[in-house]
């Protein structure tokens, strides 16, 4: 494994599978009465979050605690930023206290790369701007594999705000690397230029994109997208792209519906779909802990854990 996990491109195919396999074992720990193993005892992990996040931060924190790491949460947006400290200086200050890993969430794409160049600690990207969110893609792959027993050859359709989504980029890279046929679908104003070079099929017709899909993955639509004239209204978005039961019916009968959260019911996804029989949205959350335990173990406890 590389020193850091900044994006899916840092992982080989074998390493991705190794993480998914390790996550199977990690999930079992979460089902025990005493949900704790000593794997990362004595390791210090700093969760450095520059953006508000409940689900990712909580997921990492539970994963760290189950592995017995000492964890520290820094909501940087409320502290050093207000005092004018740069990201580099904040990171070096934290480094001086000898942590083993820094889990970083930041609004700027590439923030983890900056830390990677100046820090000795291992950097785990927990979402950087509109670039990547690698642990989300790993937990999504884990969830898909659990249901479909494979990833290669599946049709995975990702629908939503493609332009601003780090979940999209990580999933597109990971799933195509593992041999899935990835379709991405959204309004033409929200399709990143040249994105087909990632090996994905781009469509603006949702009925075509979801036809015979094995997996439908929804992306969040943010309210403020109307301001950049990306969308006329959320109502029109729902009519044109919203995932309704009728659209789900065009997919394979055993399709699964995924969403990285938080959801906007009635905007990108109808409640009947979110709460319906195909939905694996809460399983994704549960699997997130196991997958993050696997990543932390392999980066921090695997090789030099003695």
């Amino acid at each position: 494994m590389n020193k850091d996990l900044l994006g899916i491109g840092d992982l080989t195919r074998d390493e991705i599978y190794a993480i998914l396999d390790t996550a199977e074992a990690m999930r079992e720990i979460g089902q025990r009465a005493i949900k704790k193993v000593p794997t990362l005892r004595g390791k210090t992990i700093v969760n450095l979050f520059y953006e508000p996040s409940t689900r990712t931060r909580t997921s990492f924190e539970i994963a760290e605690k189950r592995l017995s790491a000492d964890t520290l949460n820094i909501a940087a947006a409320q502290s050093s930023v207000l005092k004018g400290e740069t990201l580099a200086d904040t990171a070096l200050t934290i480094e001086a206290m000898q942590p083993d890993m820094i889990v970083l969430r930041h609004a700027s794409s590439g923030a983890g790369h900056l830390l990677s160049r100046i820090c000795r600690s291992r950097i785990i990207n927990a979402g950087d701007g509109t670039h990547e969110h690698p642990t989300q893609a790993l937990l999504d792959a884990f969830t898909i594999r659990e249901h479909k027993k494979r990833i290669e050859g599946l049709k995975v359709t990702i629908v939503g705000d493609l332009l601003h989504s780090r979940v999209l980029r990580s999933n597109a890279i990971l799933l195509t690397a593992l041999g899935a046929h990835v379709w991405i679908c959204g309004p033409s104003t929200l399709v990143p230029a040249g994105i087909d070079r990632l090996g994905v099929r781009v469509s603006t017709i949702v009925d075509e994109a979801v036809a015979d899909a094995d997996v439908i993955m929804m992306l969040r639509i943010q309210q403020e997208r109307m301001h950049g004239a990306f969308l006329p209204s959320l109502r029109e978005y729902f009519v044109t792209f919203g995932m309704t039961a009728a659209r789900v019916a065009r997919a394979k009968p055993d399709v699964i519906i995924m969403h990285p959260g938080p959801m906007n019911r009635g905007v990108e996804i109808a409640s009947e779909v979110a709460d319906g029989p195909y939905s694996v949205i809460l399983e994704q959350v549960a699997n997130g802990v196991a997958v993050r335990m696997a990543v932390l173990y392999m980066l921090g406890g695997g090789q030099d854990g003695d």
Partner: protein, 437 residues
Amino acid sequence: MTKTLLKGGRVVDPANGRDGAFDVLIDGDRIARVGRDVPVDAGTKVIEIPSGLVICPGLIDMHVHLREPGQEHKETVATGTASAVAGGFTAVACMPNTNPVNDNAGVTEYILKKAAEANLARVYPIGAVSRGQKGEELADIAELKQAGCVAVTDDGHPIATAMLMRRALEYTTMFHLPVIEHCEEQTLKGDGVAHEGFHASALGLRGIPGEAESIMALRDISLAELTRGVVHIAHMSARQTLDAVRWGKTRGARVTCEVTPHHFVLTDEMLGAPIAYDTNVKMNPPLRETADRDAMLAGIKDGSVDVIATDHAPHHYDEKRVEFDRAPFGIVGLETCVSLCFDRLVHSGVVSLARIVELLSVNPSRILNVPGGSLAEGAPADISILAPDLRVTVSAARMKSKSRNTPFDGWQLRGGVAATFVGGRAVFVNENVSIDL
């Protein structure tokens, strides 16, 4: 007055149709004679120029940011002109986006005073088009001209309204000043930080399409036709803009354009590798895709491009050591330009050395209407001595500029600068070239 003879070497002086072995006799601060076997009297100092070196009219960089007054932590007139002469430039034209803005004679005079104190390269200030570069009302352009400004521009702050650009082009015709435009349609640029294309998309960086540049170039060229004003398109980066300039020239509009070395050498692939999110590849306009880079090379070759200018934009280490989208735009360029021109344009067969001298000396002097661009007898003895085959390893740490923000650090290039003469005085001698002064 002391006389100096530069003996040997290849004189490349396209303005006078010379390319060959000539001697150059300097008398005081002027060129006295250029010819074969120029006779010398007893008091004349003879400098043997090793064969293989090139003697050409002093290079002029018509687009640099000297940052003084107001941002002396990035660069000063003294360090910027030291950087210029080390890069083979005998003159630079400096942009008005200082603090305060160079929109009045006081600031112009301050810059010229600092340049006189530094006493290295000649400095030609460029004034603001609009007061405070705010794009609202015209600056006192007659006063700026009187104080020594050679052009006007709101560089860094494109002129947003067609009406103000029209008035600027009309008004400057009275003073024979070109209006230099940083073409960028602001609403289309938005908060973009990199060229809109695959690489920015994959890295999650907000894009700036080439059309943000070409749309404004088309507007300005049309307005130049309307007004008979003179517009110079700064740091052109997009192939669409080059087409716009060609269209304007065909129609007889008074339009010229410049390209930076980084736009004819690099592409947006640099955003991801070798250093992902390197803030030293963040500049405005952004590095564009291969088709644009190749178009710039074609324009240099076919004559559509008039000038190579560096857009030397020093920024402090602290300012660049931040997240990509928070870093300021720009790189230093004065000390890498000549090497990049030799390596990527001359040795690779794109253009001749004489054409490089046109792009870096003859044309900037003509467009700005300043002395230079020629080794004619009686002209100022501003002379660049170039070493076409010198092996150069770019070292940011050893640059004379106060800032080090270059993506070319460590690059190995063929071709460099041997010495720089301003007004007959050697202001830079490269220790790696054996010239005995």
